[in-house]
Each structure stands twice: as C-alpha cells, then as structure tokens.
C-alpha cells in the first residue's frame, strides 16, 4: 500500500493563476489536488530523484505518487 495520500475533501476544480515551483506563472483551468507525503518518506524520495534525468524518479517512487493523484482525480471527475 502506498504511503502517499490525498486530502480528498480539499480537491477542487478551479481556474487558477498561480506560481509554479520554478517561478513560472500558470494560468489555466484545472484540478487542485493536495498530496500528503509523510515526513519519513521525504529523504528517500528526494535522494532517488534526479531532476536532470528524464527517467527519474524511478517507477518505485513515481507510480505510487501518480496513483495517489490519479485516484483522487478519477473520483472527483466521476462524482
């Protein structure tokens, strides 16, 4: 079972004008999905992420994260 979770009650569909992590301005319509990453997982997760590599993070980390996001998205869309 994944250790990554979503605060589902906070999932919102909204128009947004916000700043991305790299400072890029984002102006779009979309879903806001808060993901919870346990503090105990942060060290290992970042140690295994190389932002310069197009194949990072590996499936061990990317798949559970993706599933947490996609499970929330699917439930919200189907509501």
């Amino acid at each position: 079972m994944s250790n990554y979770h979503c605060d589902y009650q906070q999932v919102r569909e909204s128009g947004v004008t916000v700043e991305d992590t790299d400072g890029t301005k984002i102006d779009t319509e979309g879903f806001i999905i808060p993901i919870i990453i346990p503090l105990s997982e942060v060290g290992e997760l970042l140690a295994n992420y190389d932002p310069a590599s197009g194949t990072s993070p590996g499936v061990t980390y990317s798949r559970p994260l993706s599933r947490a996001i996609l499970d929330a998205l699917r439930r919200k869309v189907e509501e």
């Binding site: 919102r12 909204s14 128009g15 947004v16 004008t17 700043e19 102006d27």
Partner: protein, 251 residues
C-alpha cells in the same frame, strides 16, 4: 477588591455593560456598504473616467483600452488596474471608528453583489498594504471578486498575484473571509452564493505572508481585466454593490 459593574452605561440597565461593550449588536450585524466615489485613486494608465455611487451600487466608467495587457490583471507582478482606497476601519458602534494596522488581529467579511459589466472585468473588494504601488509584492492585496469571462458570472479570490476562480450560472454574490494576525496575512476563504444565499463554489488559500509592521491597512475596491487580452470600449461601465465588515480582536 474587584469592582462590580452596577449599570450599563448605554442602556442604564443594572448588571454592567453588555458583553462586547454594549455597542454594535454582534448577533445581528449588517455589512457596511462601500461608497468609494471620493476615495483616493491609483490609476497609472488613466483607465477610469468616473466613479459614482447610487442606491448602494458603485459604478466605474472607463476610458478606452485598445490593447489589453497582463498589467491590468490581478495575477500580474505589475498591477496597473484602477482602484480606490481608504484606511481600513472597524466600527466602534458609537459613531467612531478604529483604523486597523498590520499590528492588529483582524477578521474581515468582504462581499460583491449586483454585479454588471460591459467587458470581461473582475470587480473586487480587498485589503492591501500599499495600494499606491504598482508592484504586486508591495501592494500586497488580498480580496475577492466577481467576474464574467463570457456570459456566465463567477467569483474568485485574489492573493497578491495569484487568483482562484469558478463560474456558475447561479452566482449572485462573491463573499470572503480574510484574517490577519500581527504583521501576517493568515488566510482567505472565498465563496459564491446564489440569490437565495445558497453556497455554490468555495476555495481557501493560506497566506502566511509577512507584512511590514505599524502600517495602516487599506480597504481597496477596483476593477481589473479578466485576461491580458481584455479590451475596454469608451464609456464601458462596471458596477456592483461592494460591502465589508471588519473586526479588531484583542486576543
């Protein structure tokens, strides 16, 4: 030896003053209708032709904006949209007012209703640190708005240079709750209501921005464009009922 209250200085009733000071009835409090027709103006590019107020509704009349620009949007780092402002004050309930500063603990209710617009505008009520500045991170504006990108109205929140918004055909008013603690903007909740005051959309944003100390906060109203390509025709009018209520809390 403690002093026992013997009568209410307002009503004369025995037992001392009503909790809360005996001033405004906090259990049945009206919003304060905003009339910005004589407030100070920031309008770097002279988009405003006139501001008038009648029957509780404020109308902004515009000059031509032939070419849109991001600087007229709430989401821009540079903010040249027209606005009017005055000191943010809390009603003491006795005909006097307390000017609120960044050193106060404050709760605010903001509301926009009766919104009509001739172009894709965003009519807002907000609180800012320095509404004279065209730099978003200096202006430090926080508020709510109504907008109508096409035929469907909507509402949203404004946090310095970020926004969140939704349209809904039943949107009748934009409402918001904003709070400040000592030299901090804390949080903003905004939500839309139907004409029967039934909840439609809502969104929340944690702020936690550091504000300069000992600075008078400003109540700000104005009109931004919906996008950086929005244009305005000469004599286009944006109007709405703008309201607020402010509470200074002694913790």
């Amino acid at each position: 030896m403690p002093v026992a209250p013997c009568f209410d200085p307002t009503t004369g009733a025995s037992g001392g003053a009503t909790p809360g000071g005996g001033g405004s009835p906090l259990g049945n409090l009206n919003l304060r209708t905003i009339d910005p027709s004589s407030w100070a103006t920031t309008d770097p590019d002279t988009l405003l032709k006139d501001v008038s107020h009648a029957a509780g509704v404020t109308s902004f009349t515009f000059n031509t904006l032939g070419a849109g620009s991001a600087v007229y949007t709430l989401g821009s780092a540079t903010q040249n949209f027209p606005r009017r402002y005055t000191d943010l004050q809390a009603d003491n309930g006795d005909g006097t007012f307390t000017t609120l500063t960044t050193d106060d603990n404050i709760l605010l209710y903001l509301r926009v209703s009766d919104y009509t617009t001739a172009f894709a505008s965003r009519l807002f009520v907000a609180v800012a640190v320095d509404p004279t500045s065209t730099t978003a991170s200096t202006q430090l504006g926080y508020g709510i708005f109504m907008y109508q990108p096409t035929g469907t109205p909507g509402d949203g929140l404004w946090d310095v240079s970020s926004t969140q918004q939704n349209t809904n055909v039943n949107t009748d008013s934009a409402n918001g709750v904003l709070n400040f603690s000592l030299t901090r903007a804390v949080g903003l909740t905004s939500f839309s209501l139907t004409g029967a005051d039934i909840l439609l959309n809502l969104r929340q944003r944690t702020l936690s921005d550091t504000l300069p100390g000992s600075t008078n906060l400003k109540l700000v109203v104005g009109v931004a464009t919906n996008t950086g390509t929005t244009t305005i025709a000469d004599n286009d009018v944006v109007s709405g009922k703008l309201e607020y209520q402010a509470f200074k809390l002694n913790l």
